[in-house]
Amino acid sequence: MENAIFLGLSVQAWYLIAVTIGMFYTLTRTHVPAEVAFLGVVTLYLAGGLVNVHDVVSGLGSEAVVVSGAFFIMQASLNLTGVSYWLSQHWLGSPKSYRQAIVKLMTPVALLSAMMGGENVVSMFTDTVKQWARKLGISHAKLLIPLSYAATFGGMCTLLGQSSNLVIAGLYAEQTGTSLNLLAPLVPGVVCTVVGMLMMLLQQRFLPEREAPELSFEDISDYTVELLVPTDNPAVMMKVADTGLKNVRGGSLIEIVRFDKEVISPVDDDEFIFGGDRLIYSGQINELLKLKQTHGLVAADHHIYSINEIDSNRKLRTAYVNFGSDLIGTSMSHNKFEKRNDMTLVAVARQGKRVDEQPREVKLEAGDTLLLECPQKADRDLQTTLKRTLTFFDSQYVPQLGPRTIWTSVVLVAIFVLSSFNVLPLLTVTMLAAGALIMMRCCRMDSITKYIDWNYLLLLGSLVVFSIAITKTGIMTPVADWVLRVCKENPYIIIIVMSIMASLVSEVFSNIAAGAVFFPLVYQQAMILGCNPLPFVIALMTSVTISYCTPIGSTTIMQIYGPGGFKFTDFWRIGIWMHLALLLVNLITIFIVFPMY
């Protein structure tokens, strides 16, 4: 049965196609996290005999997974000891023009991204760049896009710069038994970085101007705020007109939502106020929030009998909804987020504008800015717990600089020296570095498991197994044969075609997934043609990173999408030229640098 062929493919290949389609359907139509979907797929592959136990164990424990795990410890140390903070605060300076500001920002960001990973650099620079933009009088959006793109350029230069690089390097090691050097993609990466920066300077006038979304809560005069009437409020049982709650300073009452969800809109002067009413105001947010002090209203997700039940020390914080957040597609009144995290949603902004609905009924989207009332304490705990769901704008953590800051920097440099000169394999170096940082107390020994993003590692491991299954079923063989035929078995044309396809796929899916799917195909083509697999693999590695047109394909664009208040289409105009130019110079460089035979 296993050897039966149907429409040119084995039964196992068809099984793989069916399971994979089911997974993509699940990912697009449900809120099942990606790592769970991929793990489910791995389980079905295992059950269907597409992979064996050894494949699964070696995939989940592959070099990409272990190196990424150790790298999380290094990232935590860089943040905790203040290396990240110091770099982001001291490297920008005071440029004289916008052009100079772009160069001053992109150069260190690209360099650091090569060493620390683009995602880590974007997360540490985002707030600083926004403050810097305000100081320079430049729209923050005009600097956030160069920040994101520079991180991607720099990330192309080393294996540690992009997660997709590690995955592809891991798959290469799996196939050949040889680990790639940390600096394997350095030359095409550097060329792309230089060309990318020049392109950014040429296209600077196409960069969009956007309002900072967190400032929209201060600036916009037409906002929707939801406040609850506690049972003991003096206004209970009074007519709206007599309570002074209808036309208030800075806005007006547009809706009352009763305990039984009855909506009263417009609100007549004769309407009574009941305890438990949710009053929906439109107007200037700061003024409306003063109603909490002046009229005893509260922000709450559940009924409040007395205003004394509310902790007066709670504070307002702004955060944006991350891509892939489990809040997307849900409303606060229907999910359990507020209760679980002791927070209350007060207002929602979408691309800096009012959402014309009761805030807690708004179906949330990626990039929405939320104004939340949060507990006073546990700032960092909240940020750590919710890092996949929300990102807070106002991170108040300022690390203490000291000797450990220097130790961490030394360890980071040592990794590069040892790995680049092939003194030790990358896996050994990163594990030694993580161990050294723990021993030097650059991160807390009892919190190591918290620093590691286990969901991410699970996703990486599952993707490696996914790629192994594609290789073993031979599903890519007909595709590889077809590409070889069409390209007349010319390795240069094949690399060009595969790079274009991989970079297009990575615009709409993640670059890691694109790398995992395309690796078996390009490796097989290199083997069939008897070529050196390195130009094929490095071209794939750099091509999947070349995705600048949509926020979906690039993690670093996703990271600035919410804080920048961008529109989905903002990246298209500048990204398409960047995509074409980098693809071209990348391929030319690879053809020059890497011998084909």
Partner: protein
């Protein structure tokens, strides 16, 4: 939903049966009109067979209260079930009405 009004010992008694939801509130508002002209008599709202009350129903209760009080009478609410008691506690109605 039905509403019956009768007079006993110089008091008006309104007997509610069924679910006083938003749909039933329009008819109930008409049915309780005699209570709005109680002319100083006390009013008893008998909720023994009232299964549910919505915010529209509470609005009727408060209108009765305001009207009866303005004419010098009192309003008592009788025999509310646990669900309705919860609603009264939440909305603050328990402090306005005498609940028997």
């Amino acid at each position: 939903m039905t509403t019956e009004i009768r007079e006993e010992n110089n008091s008006l008694i309104a007997v509610f049966k069924g679910r006083l939801d938003t749909a039933a509130a329009v008819q109930t508002t008409k049915d309780v009109e005699p209570l709005m002209n109680a002319e100083g008599k006390d009013v008893v709202l008998d909720c023994t067979e009232l299964e549910y009350i919505s915010s529209s129903g509470l609005r009727i209760f408060i209108s009765i209260l305001k009207s009866v009080k303005a004419q010098g009478g009192k309003v008592n609410v009788k025999n509310i079930n646990d669900e309705i008691r919860k609603v009264f506690l939440m909305t603050g109605f328990d402090k306005l009405f005498t609940i028997q």
